[in-house]
Amino acid sequence: MTARVITFSSGKGGVGKTTTTANLAVALASANHKVVCIDADIGLRNLDVVLGLENRIVYDLVDVIEGRCRIRQAMIRDKRYENLFLIPAAQTRDKTAVSPSDMVRLCNELRPDFDWILIDSPAGIERGFRNAIAPADIVVVVTNPEVSALRDADRVIGLVEAEEKGPARLVINRLNSVMVKRGEMLDTNDVLELLAIELLGIVPEDEQVIISTNRGQPVAMDEKTKAGKAFHNIARRLNGENVPFLPLGDDNNIFNKIGKMFKPGGN
């Protein structure tokens, strides 16, 4: 096995980097890939909560880097997916506790044992961001269809190019098809026109994401949810499959209505 390292970044905070990391980890693990997630947001760790593993932390990333434990000791194995591991961030330190070369070395040590290494980058473009993208083979930029998020995403894409990690790939998160239809939200084309990078996936806005995040059960555990399905599709695309993008029309268009007549219970 030689793992590929994917770093999830965005510039702006709150667009769904951690949610995307957690859900893709679940989607890849449920497809029998061996996955380790690294939370690079030292000082503001979240990924453990979203994955529902926060009460199992003993050692963290900084302990590994500073040699207080072996990598194995800091890896938490998910009980629901035995292929899924997490290396949590330290909560009591800050970004300067780790350097970009530390991250490269850590990932190189992990590579032989995994299919995927997913790194959750902190918001911003400072040290934490550079730590997170240093070992990356692929950088995935997560954005929302909002002007402020797009500008930050554009900046990050430029920085990723400057670090010769490009071209980055794009996940558009929290797209609300009803608002797009009413012309109140940027649509996929507007986003792609500006950012001009390869689209990896579109995740529709879905209340289930909030519910599942609070419960520590990533929404991708339930492939029937809208967002969960989108994350599984992204995982397949990362794996080289050619998966068509989900039709983003809301559920009330004429074809869906006809479909529902024949399919009680809907989708």
């Binding site: 350097s99 070395r105 554009d154 900046r155 894409i157 430029g158 920085l159």
Partner: protein, 230 residues
């Protein structure tokens, strides 16, 4: 910049973080000898200095780095950082507890000007990429971009600016007061457009975007369709 030797293979200059010593190309053994000679010669001057050593593409073993660090520290000089393009050099430096980056790495990309010796007075740079948010081009001459200028990007030029793409960022042309300068783009919807210090106040746009040219007329910036007049 202070050059301590005529031979330019080793350069020393002051930076915010202390002194930066840049090692040139060539045989490392010779370079190292030269560096140590400089050290002996200028030891008093360097005393107490913090040094970042840029070794470029040279691959150094931990033993090489350790030797240098010790020789320098004998003279009261700290090598706190080793910069280099080789990952193994970087790793070795880290193992010795040295930094491998200056605190503020430059994300600015270098832009080279085109040689225009044969056309007097007309200097231009050609940029074949999209200028993304946070990218600034500051050039004394004309600027030609094959790509878009995204929101948050900025071009500052003393001459004219031509963009074969969509402009949504900021363009300052003819700075500070070159009234002959113009700005052309396939789609001109800038955040800010200023020519020779005069700011363009965009009016309500009607119809589809089309190639446009902005220039100074009677002290105002006017924008009109970019057409070749026969």
């Amino acid at each position: 910049m202070m050059n301590f030797n005529e031979n330019k293979s080793i350069q020393i200059k002051g930076i915010n973080e202390g002194l930066l010593i840049t090692m040139g190309e060539g045989n490392w053994v010779d370079l190292e000898k030269e560096l140590l000679a400089i050290l002996e010669e200028k030891a008093k001057f360097f005393n107490g200095a913090k040094i970042a050593l840029d070794v470029g593409g040279h691959v150094l073993r931990a033993a090489d780095l350790g030797m240098l660090r010790d020789r320098f520290s004998d003279k009261g000089i700290t090598i706190w950082a080793v910069l280099g393009s080789s990952p193994s050099t970087e790793m070795n430096a880290q193992m010795l507890g040295m930094a491998t980056r200056l605190s503020a790495p430059a994300h600015e990309r270098k832009i080279h000007s085109i040689n225009t010796d044969n056309i007097p007075g007309e200097e231009a740079i050609f940029i074949h990429r999209t200028l993304r948010s946070g990218f600034k081009v500051d050039y004394d001459g004309h600027v030609v971009v094959l790509g878009d200028v995204n929101p948050g990007a900025e071009i500052y030029a003393s001459g004219s600016v031509v963009i074969w793409g969509r402009v949504r960022g900021s363009i300052l042309a003819g700075m500070p007061e070159n009234h002959a300068a113009s700005v052309c783009a396939l789609e001109l919807t800038p955040t800010l457009l200023r020519i020779a210090g005069v700011t363009y106040l965009p009016s309500k746009r009607k119809g589809k975007n089309q190639p446009e040219m902005a220039r100074i007329e009677n002290g105002q910036v006017v924008v009109e369709s970019w057409k070749i007049k026969s």
